[in-house]
């Protein structure tokens, strides 16, 4: 028994490490002067490094369960966790000077982000609906309070309340759906649910009702139409660094629980959830892209662009094949990196007392800082899905999987909507390259941020030129974990 517990603990070592370090960060902050905040920054980065080491050291190629099948560690989980560490680390780098300028560079920011990361790690590894819910709530509560971190800002508090109320509603929906599935299958364990659905087809009506609620809850967390209302408001209201967090890494975790619940637990109900996914994907791609055209606030534009990207991710999921899941995984990870650069540049252009928020602020960037305009160009091309950037392969893989699964007409539709999307991405290119700048001054950017931005943006281009390793990694992660 003792040994059992030991091996269980060994499997969740990264989580334990992140948890304890988050507490250390929280405590350390009490004992240092504001001028010594770099210690907190270093500790947080160290946490991510340590987590990456612990995950990488035992990088799982086979599925291992812990705590009576509550917790799973497999290729998918480890891959997503690794990507989450990288993403979170980039967020810390990008937000450093931005948060300093706004007097938000405080210990609780780092602690909350680390706790949110812990929530995501739990979601990624959960194999039981209860644990899914726990991880989700840990993540969501951190995000609600992070949104309101700038508490004297009216917009931020308003959007935090909005986010909290709607988020709580969605969690309720998810919980309600889970309870119905529990009622029908008398288990919350995804393995048990999947086998009992396969062996004893039970009352279909209750299961479908439960499924609808679960899908609605998941769609809310992902931000898919028709559960997208919170996305633009929260992006606009919260500080850019928090909007960056909300839009990037948690999508990996949301993707993980969606795959685990739908593709693993409720696999035998694929016919039903495929239809729901299809409707949501079609609506998200359409509404996201078309509404984004009308935005003048760049954060709102990013929000609608996120919605359309989520539509593409659902497109891969609804294929219901390993190929489709792998393409969605590829999409969601490359989406995270694209979003990080796009927000990173936004924060780089903001200064003390100046928030880079409207499209106008990008005017003539090429005349001010041609190289940053170039980085933004790569990012926008990648978001629009123009080769040779990684965004192209993401779209290509998803479309190819959907085509293979027999959704040919919807592929044509998605392609046409991608064309609509290209318009507003290219509009940013137009503003940067063809218009005259309002301000002539060059941007003053710290050295570390410059290097990280360069590395991140060039990675979009480089992975676009040699994508096969990344493709193999995602395909392998999916093939090892889902059967």
């Amino acid at each position: 028994m003792n040994q059992l517990i030991q091996s269980d603990l060994f499997l969740i070592l990264p989580e334990i490490f992140v948890l304890s370090m988050a507490m250390v960060v929280l405590m350390t902050d009490l004992f240092i002067k504001p001028s010594q905040r770099w210690i907190i920054f270093a500790l947080s980065q160290l946490t991510l490094l340590g987590g990456a080491y612990l995950t990488g050291q035992n990088f799982s190629h086979e599925t291992q369960f812990a705590f009576s099948n509550m917790f799973v560690r497999d290729g998918l989980a480890d891959f997503l966790k690794m990507m989450s560490y990288v993403g979170t680390s980039l967020i810390f780098f990008y937000s450093r000077s931005y948060m300093k300028d706004r007097n938000l560079y405080r210990g609780e920011y780092f602690a909350l982000v680390l706790f949110a990361l812990l929530g995501m790690m739990i979601m990624i590894s959960s194999h039981n609906m209860l644990l899914v819910y726990m991880g989700l709530e840990l993540l969501s509560l951190c995000l609600y309070s992070l949104t309101a971190l700038d508490r004297d800002n009216q917009k931020a508090t308003e959007s935090a309340i909005k986010y909290f109320v709607l988020g709580a509603l969605a969690s309720g929906l998810l919980l309600y759906g889970m309870s119905m599935i529990y009622g029908a299958t008398s288990s919350l364990d995804l393995n048990v649910i999947s086998t009992s659905l396969l062996n004893h087809p039970t009352d279909h009506a209750i299961l479908i009702l439960g499924l609808v609620f679960v899908v609605a809850g998941l769609a809310f967390k992902l931000g898919a139409v028709p559960f997208q209302m919170w996305v633009p408001d929260v992006y606009e209201g919260s500080p850019s660094s928090i909007a960056m967090l909300i839009s990037s890494v948690p999508k990996l975790a949301a993707f993980a629980i969606t795959v685990r619940i739908l593709a693993e637990g409720l696999q035998s109900m694929m016919v039903d959830w495929k239809q729901m996914m299809l409707i949501m994907a079609v609506l998200s791609i359409g509404i996201g892209n078309i509404t984004a055209i009308a935005q003048t606030n760049i954060k709102r534009m990013y929000a609608y662009s996120t919605i359309s990207h989520i539509g593409f991710i659902l497109f891969g999921l609804m294929s219901g094949t390993l190929n489709g899941y792998a393409s969605s995984l590829f999409y969601v990870v490359s989406y995270m990196f694209m979003t990080l650069v796009s927000f990173g540049i936004l924060m780089m252009m903001s200064r003390k007392n100046f928030e880079c928020e409207t499209l106008e602020d990008f005017k003539g960037l090429n005349k001010r800082n041609p190289w940053y305009a170039f980085l933004m160009l790569i990012t926008m091309l990648s978001m629009a899905g123009i080769p040779p950037t990684v965004g192209f392969y993401a779209k290509f893989m998803v479309l190819q999987a959907a085509f293979d699964a027999g959704f040919a007409m919807f592929v044509v539709y998605a392609v046409m909507m991608a064309l609509v999307g290209m318009f507003y991405y290219m509009r940013i290119v137009k503003l940067m390259y063809f218009d005259e700048p309002k301000l002539k001054s060059k941007l003053d950017v710290s050295m570390d941020m410059q290097w990280i931005l360069w590395a991140n943006a060039l990675a979009l281009l480089f992975v676009g030129l040699v994508p096969h390793r990344f493709m193999d990694a995602t395909a392998q992660a999916v093939a090892l974990s889902l059967h």
Partner: protein, 500 residues
């Protein structure tokens, strides 16, 4: 000299040198950037010469092939190779880049290094499009090439440049996204992106028609065929001279080349089945667009419409499915590359001096610029198909092939020669002859040695191809025979048996 990687060198040398110019742009003066670009474009041109000298023209297959696995997960390979259809266009591309760099010597004053770099990078990507034998590689070059052109028109273009460049971009991408869907379909059928495997995919007529239409959307926008042509006049009018030259001389050829490389051999039954449709669109382009050209007030717009009309001959020739038609179409492509480049450069010469392109603003230019007028009249003559110039050969061959098919098609196509003469010569009359319109025109300086050398090179090439078109038909002959054999593997179908 080892020629195994000649294609890779042809593609990546200009891209690398262009990138180098971008990197050094902060440290170089404009003059240095210009010389560096000129030398780079000359090097890139010289590298492509062995493609011609070492090519075995008696052999229609792909040569200089390079192959390695690029993305094994999707069977995407870095596969290059050229046949007789690709080599002349590659040479045309690298040659045009030299011309563009020389032509932009004085007219571009803002961000010179970036401008030159954009053209060098574009030339590499264009060569990539012409030599890719893997559909995904082709698609990547095809899309990537849009970006420099988008920036060239948008940054250095005229007053309405943003409208024009976004229209250009969206039109082109609309077509190419549908082409991507067709590629995905073909990939799922053949489990490969190899063009050669696509040729032998053995598809039913119904799927062939869908694929052909998807390709049609991509390539007809590029050629451009009526009614998808409306982006071209806007793009030409707003683009700087160099942009217009590349657009007319090389980019329009991409569409026709891709018909020969993809749409027709992959979907041969559909191509034959939709022959009447394509011929009708070509005839509308030839005749109707020529009439539109007649009433233009802007010189660049007039040449743009005349380009569309001339490209109509290319599609007409291709869809006659006989060797004289295909070779005529090919000569027309090359000849249009020279003539339209020369015409746009001539407009550029005038625009650099007076900053207007309105025909009505000119008159009597001959008195001030006699040498230039000689060139301009010659190019206008070539444009309307004067025997002895390259313009005559292509059009004549296409009309002959049409005559073999159907007298009326030939008659309609031939009648456009009259309209061609009308709009070209009428423009020449209004711009160059008569008394000088105002003081500014009588004070014009004749062309410099730089402009003289550019225009005379083009004039010589136009005459060479016009007098001795065998230069080009020798290159394309074997490939044409093979192309037509492939197209006729399957007998023409007259009724439509639907199969899914």
């Amino acid at each position: 000299m080892n020629l195994t990687h000649i294609l890779s060198f042809s593609i990546w040398t200009p891209i690398f040198l262009g990138g180098l110019i971008l990197l050094l742009s902060g440290k170089m003066s404009d003059t240095q950037a210009k010389w560096f670009s000129l030398i780079s474009s000359l090097i890139s041109f010289l590298i492509t010469i062995p493609l011609y000298t070492a090519f075995d023209f008696s052999f229609g297959q792909f040569q200089f092939q390079e192959f390695f696995h690029w993305i094994p997960a999707f069977h995407i390979n870095y596969h290059l190779g050229v046949d007789g259809f690709a080599v002349p266009l590659i040479l045309l591309t690298s040659f045009t880049t030299v011309i563009v760099v020389m032509a932009s010597w004085r007219s571009i004053k803002d961000r010179v290094a970036q401008y030159m770099a954009a053209f060098l990078i574009m030339s590499g990507l264009l060569i990539g499009v012409f030599s890719a034998l893997d559909a995904m590689l082709y698609y990547i070059f095809w899309e990537a090439m849009l970006i420099p052109m988008f920036l060239v028109i948008g940054i250095w273009g005229g007053p309405n440049r943003i409208y024009a460049t976004i229209k250009f971009f969206l039109y082109t991408v609309l077509g190419s996204l549908l082409m991507l869907v067709a590629f995905i379909y073909l990939y799922l059928q053949t489990h490969s992106f190899e063009v050669v495997n696509f040729y032998n995919a053995g598809l039913g007529l119904y799927s062939q028609i869908l694929i052909f239409l998807a390709f049609f959307m991509a390539f007809a926008v590029k050629i451009p065929m009526w009614p998808l042509h409306t982006w071209l006049p806007d793009a030409h009018v707003e683009a700087p001279t160099g942009g217009s030259v590349v657009l007319a001389a090389v980019m329009l050829k991409l569409g026709a080349y891709s018909f020969m490389r993809f749409a027709m051999p992959i979907a041969p039954d559909a191509a034959i089945y939709l022959k009447d449709f394509m011929v009708t669109l070509s005839l509308i382009a030839i005749l109707y667009i020529a009439l539109i050209a007649l009433v233009q007030k802007d010189m660049k717009k007039l040449i743009a419409y005349s380009s569309i009309s001339h490209m109509g001959f290319v599609t007409l020739g291709l869809f006659m499915f006989n060797s004289i038609g295909v070779e005529g179409a090919y000569i027309q492509m090359i000849s249009h590359g020279f003539i339209s480049a020369a015409m746009f450069l001539s407009v550029g010469v005038l625009y650099d001096r007076l900053h207007t392109r309105e025909i009505a603003d000119y008159g009597g230019v001959m008195h001030a610029m006699p040498t230039f007028t000689a060139f301009a009249v010659f190019f206008a003559m070539a444009n309307c198909g004067l025997p002895g110039t390259s313009g005559f050969v292509g059009e004549f061959m296409v009309i002959m092939s049409a005559m073999q098919n159907n007298f009326w098609i030939a008659l309609i196509a031939a009648s456009s020669l009259i309209f061609g003469a009308a709009y070209s010569l009428w423009m020449v009359k209004r711009v160059f002859y008569g008394a000088p319109r105002n003081q500014k025109i009588s004070a014009l300086k004749d062309i410099s040695w730089r402009e003289f050398s550019i225009l005379s090179i083009l004039a010589v090439l136009i005459i060479i191809v016009g007098v001795y078109p065998k230069i080009i038909t020798d290159m394309t002959n074997a490939t044409t025979v093979q192309f037509l054999e492939h197209m006729q593997l399957i007998k023409p179908i007259t009724s439509l048996p639907m199969d899914v």
